[in-house]
């Protein structure tokens, strides 16, 4: 958790390539309105909470008044007390406090229920949207940032939404009732607050104005420190190999010094708030004591009145300070809410065409005609590209690293949409098929094997949960991973992701190959599927791969040129563009880019 939270503060957030979720500001009012919608869904709970707040704080506020009345009944000296009256008022006091606590407890329960409902709903909304977002969203934003919205921001919003909202109501009730009570006891004495309230307000403004930039600087510096520490710990082996510990430490000392200074300075001002609130309380007390005593001399107030007054005054100035800090919290809640809504507002994949139909069991005849495509408008990546893959053919995509070989896969599976031209599957325009059915006709193995926390069986059967044990084992056997799995203590039920289960990169990849084997789809995409597999193992699974390709139209991306030499068509990609296209022999005869790439691998120095 802490790592993720910390990650929010690291430099990554401000990096250029991955955009931050807060691009341009959302108007305050709009955020408030949408937050209100979430609250509104729990209208009954909200009303109940409001009612309980009102009741519990007003009931509690009768306490000081009653205690004052009791003290008045005690009188000033021995034998003056009217014990039955004292008993009566203290009895009422106990009743009031008991009732108030009960109401307070109910209030916490109601608030809790409401908050959990809202958090649940918000998380659901975010995730349900997230999962419909186009692939390019995930290419743009960092996983850590998205996760921190769900795990951290939503909590922040709701902490604030429920507690702060009710706190404000409570403060309002407390201030109003206290003021009424004090006015009812002795209006003149309330003049004391003419001094202390403006003092409080001015002071709070000054201190928040002062501390906010300090706290901002503090979290920036801590973020920088976190980033550096995390980074250099990760690079320990390199540092040690070059013997650079001292220099790394020197730089650390500098960043650490700045972070500690920023922290301490913000603490200087941050820790002023406590004593200051205390001071204003004490000052009110002193003023009330003096003026109360003077009025008492003139016989205008009783001792009980002074007692009640003192207690009300403590309650009166408290909320005023609280509201100030709540306003600060609300501010951070609003920016958290903004991030949440921005995620919910992200544009999902375009809906399927209205008359889109489902194509099952495609034969695997893929045709691209005059396709133009660009990730960023104005920067064409694919220009006037045409290709025809007949069922069962092998199409290889070759080119140097980083040349954009994955782009074609993105287009075929509609992770991205083309700008011009057409792509057809079995003669049907792929834009007239439902996305789901289009994609269901493909099976794929990607460079980074993706496995989730769950049993090996579930991971292999992911695409076909109805697959039998036998089918899964057969797929694993074909992927040359069956014997490894059976050697694990839990066999197919071994949970991937648990500590202690040692599965190498290569074995993980074989599991994803087994997953692909299990699929009935007629088209196959292999995106650098064997780049994590060492040569000996690759040798072993070559038969498996051939079996996987058999009868399927296969699109294979590989940098090991020997594996794609036998392709029916080789598409040569350079700097994002398809520069050459043809069979191996033709391309070699052309003596172009492909030929030079191909020759390079046999060069010795």
């Amino acid at each position: 958790m802490s790592v993720i939270r910390g990650g929010r503060m690291t430099r990554n957030e401000t990096s250029g390539d991955k955009r931050s979720l807060v691009a341009n500001k959302m108007p305050r009012r709009q955020i408030a309105k949408r937050l209100w919608q979430y609250l509104g869904r729990n209208r009954a709970l909200l009303l109940l909470a409001l009612l309980l707040t009102l009741l519990s704080s007003s009931v509690a506020l009768f306490g000081p008044k009653l205690s004052g009345l009791a003290i008045d009944a005690i009188g000033l000296g021995a034998g003056e007390a009217h014990i039955p009256t004292v008993l009566y008022y203290t009895g009422l006091m106990a009743l009031c406090y008991g009732l108030s606590s009960l109401l307070g407890f109910l209030l916490s329960r109601v608030t809790l229920r409401m908050t959990r409902n809202i958090i649940y709903r918000m998380r659901k909304d975010v995730f349900d949207r997230l999962i419909t977002l186009p692939v390019n969203f995930f290419d743009r934003y960092q996983a850590g940032e998205i996760i921190s919205v769900v795990s951290y921001d939503i909590d922040t919003v709701n902490e604030s939404l429920s507690t702060d909202f009710l706190q404000i109501v409570q403060s309002f009730v407390t201030v109003t009732v206290s003021l009424i009570m004090m006015l009812s006891i002795k209006p003149v004495l309330t003049l004391v607050f003419v001094v202390t309230v403006p003092l409080t307000a001015l002071y709070t403004r000054w201190i928040t104005g002062r501390t906010r930039p300090l706290f901002r600087k503090r979290s920036a510096k801590l973020g920088e420190l976190n980033g550096y520490m995390e980074e250099m710990m990760g690079g320990k082996k390199t540092t040690r190999a070059y013997g650079r510990e001292e220099e790394v430490l020197e730089r650390f000392d500098q960043i650490n010094g700045e972070a500690v200074d920023a922290y301490t300075t913000s603490e200087y001002y941050g820790t002023m708030i406590g004593p200051s609130v205390n001071f204003i309380n004490n000052l009110s007390l002193a003023l009330i004591s003096v003026f109360g005593a003077l009025l008492f001399l003139r016989g205008q107030v009783g001792l009980g009145d002074i007692s009640s007054f003192v207690q009300y005054s403590r309650r009166f100035s408290g909320p005023i300070n609280e509201v100030a800090s709540i306003l600060g919290e609300l501010q951070s809640a609003f920016s958290a809410a903004e991030r949440v809504f921005r995620l919910i507002d992200a544009k999902p994949e375009k809906p399927d065409a209205p008359n889109a139909f489902t194509l099952t069991d495609a034969q695997g005849d893929v045709k691209a005609e005059h396709v133009n495509f660009s990730y960023l408008s104005g920067v064409p990546v694919i220009r006037d590209f045409s290709m025809h893959a007949k069922p069962g053919q092998l199409i290889a995509i070759a080119g140097p690293t980083g040349a954009g070989k994955t782009t074609l896969v993105n287009l075929l599976m509609r992770f991205y949409d083309i700008n011009e031209g057409s792509i057809t599957l079995d003669g049907h325009d792929i834009y007239r098929l439902t996305r789901e059915s289009l994609r269901a006709n493909y099976t794929m193995v990607l460079q980074d094997s993706w496995l989730f926390y769950g049993s090996i069986f579930d991971n292999i059967a992911y695409a076909r949960p109805e697959a039998t044990r036998e089918e899964v084992e057969q797929a694993a056997r074909a992927a040359m991973i069956h014997s490894f799995i059976t050697k694990l203590p839990e066999g197919y039920d071994t949970i991937i992701g648990d500590d202690g289960v040692n599965i190498s990169k290569c074995q993980k990849q074989l599991i994803t190959i087994a997953r692909a084997m299990l699929s009935n789809a007629r088209m196959l995409i292999l995106d650098e599927a064997t780049s994590n597999v060492d040569t000996q193992t690759e040798l072993k699974i070559q038969a498996a791969m051939r079996q996987l390709m058999a009868g399927r139209t296969a699109f294979v991306i590989a940098h090991r040129l020997s594996t794609i030499r036998s392709a029916d068509t080789i598409l040569v990609v350079r700097d994002g563009n398809i520069v050459e296209q043809g069979r191996h022999e033709d391309l070699m005869a052309e003596k172009g880019f492909y030929a030079s790439l191909y020759k390079a691998q046999f060069e010795t120095y």
Binding site: I83, L112, R240, Y263, E538
Partner: protein, 580 residues
């Protein structure tokens, strides 16, 4: 905790002073209700307004002194804890930097990072708060009880009765809620994992149309989390109403008891009013003390985790060994090694290399290739046998001397958020011309110059804004920048296309001919020209010699070479055709 106390020692003076100031400030707070009682009970009956003003002025003075002293003490506390944290974090970072890789592996990377970050923050906060509240709360509690006893010992007993009840309430609530919060954290981790899997696997999930399934999966943890959080919150929701109820009932009892006492002439009404004030002060102090307890358990846990690292013993001492006269630059002499001390990761490895020669290492994943280079760099020491450099046992060579001679690019090595130049120089003094030479040899010149700021181009953390091939080229440039006499490339060119890889090899043989190179590769073509090739399998050498020798004598090697280079004949003509 002991070690942390030793960090406080140099600040003994400042700490005592802070406590003293805190003590004075808290006394000021305690005087105020006392003066209130005096005014009401003693001054008012004298009917002299001037005396009321005087005592009122005394109250105001106490208030002013209290705020001034408190702020002053808080600042000192912040400054002291800042200094301690800075030193502690420095020592921790240094220790983690100096520990051997073997020790570091045992600590683990993620735990090292969390000790540096979370734990040192906890300590800072802990020191800060204990100085502030830790001193104030007991003073207020004890001082409050003493002053109320002076006012009226009987009423004090009524007051004191509520304290153990509140303590019990807080104790039980904490006891029941902590495990629930732990559970909440576990479920939250689970939810984060589901999110992570979905983000990383978005292409697969979409391709397999598993969206509804994943939605249900997330909904499951989401609901579970809601449930746990509601339970944990429900327990905590009890604590506030219960403690305030206890307190207020105590207050009511004070008024009632007071009534009887005043009536019997044993007490005075002003005292009851003062009591009500002390009541608030004391109960706040109680809450403060419990908060400190909760906080200190966190602080102590963090302190323990930091001490664990600081107490790690010195590892890999320098061995005293005579240098032997040796014609070999590098020599492995019956070296065996094991990471966990149970099963060998390398078994009985022996080979020798002259200055300027090239060693190629090939073998399956997990066969011990990287382990071999780790020993060569003395990141780990062999469990038996010796590694020699120019006839000297590696363990007898000072670390700085060794690291000055080597250049290394590890498999998926580390890039930091800094400029390209800083990433290549990596905290070393590298002359500009050497830097440029290294970049050219590493085939990195073209892409670096194509970036906007060339050498000053900002690389993101972990090199996120670079492609795999670009990263590898920068790492190779880093390895070459100090003109090493020993160069180690651990699978450092796997992401390069064949053409760039060939260019690199050409540059190495032309410009770094005096350098002894150790090259680990997946491709036979990368090591084919090496003077010596080791074929590793499961930590053992199963073939040793040059390419021609191995082709003839080592069947596994020949097999690898055959597959990878099978297309070689295809180069010459199309007559061989293509078997589909």
């Amino acid at each position: 905790m002991k070690k942390i106390f030793s960090y406080l020692k140099p600040h003994r003076g400042a700490l005592t002073y802070t406590l003293f100031v805190k003590f004075l400030a808290s006394m000021m707070d305690l005087f105020i209700p006392f003066i209130l009682a005096i005014i009401l009970d003693d001054i008012v009956p004298q009917r002299k307004p001037s005396l009321i003003y005087l005592w009122g002025g005394g109250m105001a003075l106490c208030a002013i002194l209290s705020i001034t002293l408190n702020i002053y003490a808080n600042r000192m506390a912040a400054a002291t804890s800042g200094k301690v944290t800075r030193k502690l974090r420095h020592d921790l970072f240094k220790k983690l930097g100096d520990t051997s890789m073997a020790q570091f592996d045992r600590v683990s990377l993620s735990s090292a990072v969390s000790r540096l970050t979370t734990d040192t923050y906890n300590i800072n906060q802990f020191l800060n708060r204990t100085q502030r509240m830790g001193a104030r709360a007991p003073i207020l509690l004890i001082g409050g009880l003493i002053l109320t006893s002076i006012l009226d010992i009987r009423l004090t007993l009524v007051l004191a009765l509520t304290l153990p009840i509140i303590t019990l309430i807080i104790f039980f609530v904490t006891r029941y809620s902590v495990p629930l919060y732990d559970k909440q954290q576990t479920v939250l981790d689970k939810m984060v994992r589901v999110m992570q899997e979905n983000i990383v696997g978005v292409r697969v999930i979409k391709a397999l149309s598993k969206t509804p399934y994943e939605q249900r999966r997330f909904d499951g943890v989401n609901q579970q989390l809601s449930e746990v959080a509601r339970k944990a919150g429900g327990v905590v929701a009890l604590s506030n109403p219960l403690s305030s109820l206890t307190l207020n009932l105590g207050l009511t009892a004070v008024v009632l008891t007071g009534a009887y006492l005043v009536n019997a002439g044993l007490s005075r009404p002003g005292s009851i009013i003062a009591f009500m004030n002390y009541f608030t002060i004391i109960s706040n102090a109680m809450m403060g003390i419990t908060r400190i307890f909760i906080m200190s358990s966190k602080g102590i846990a963090s302190a323990r985790r930091i001490e664990e690292v600081l107490d790690l013993p010195e590892d890999q001492p320098l061995l005293l060994a005579e240098a032997e006269d040796s014609p070999w630059h590098i020599e492995f002499d019956h070296v065996s090694f094991s990471y966990n001390g149970v099963e060998d990761n390398l078994t009985d490895i022996s080979f020798r290399l002259k200055q300027g020669q090239t060693l190629g290492i090939i073998g399956a994943t997990g066969s011990g290739k990287t382990t071999l280079t780790n020993l060569l760099l003395r990141l780990y020491d062999p469990s038996s046998g010796r590694v020699l450099l120019n006839g000297r046992d590696l363990r007898s060579i000072p670390r700085e001397e060794l690291s000055a001679q080597v250049g290394v690019a590890f498999q998926s090595d580390f890039m930091m958020a800094a400029t390209i130049r800083e990433n290549i120089a990596y905290f070393r003094d590298i002359a500009e011309s050497d830097l440029m030479d290294a970049i050219k040899s590493a085939q990195a010149e073209d892409f670096i110059m194509a970036t906007k700021d060339a050498l000053n181009h900002q690389v993101e953390s972990r090199g996120n804004n670079l492609s795999g091939g670009q990263k590898q080229r920068l790492l190779i440039a880093r390895a070459l920048a100090n003109k090493p006499s020993l160069l180690i490339l651990d699978d450092a060119s796997s992401a390069l296309d064949y053409r760039t890889d060939a260019g690199l090899r050409r540059a190495l043989s032309h410009h770094h001919s005096g350098t002894t190179s150790v090259i680990i590769a997946q491709r036979v073509s990368s090591i084919k020209g090496a003077d010596l090739i080791l074929v590793l399998d499961d930590g053992k050498v199963i073939g040793q010699g040059n390419h021609e020798h191995l082709m003839a004598a080592c069947p596994p090697y020949r097999e690898i070479a055959d597959i990878q280079m099978s297309a070689f004949d295809g180069m010459n003509g199309e007559e061989n055709g293509v078997s589909a």
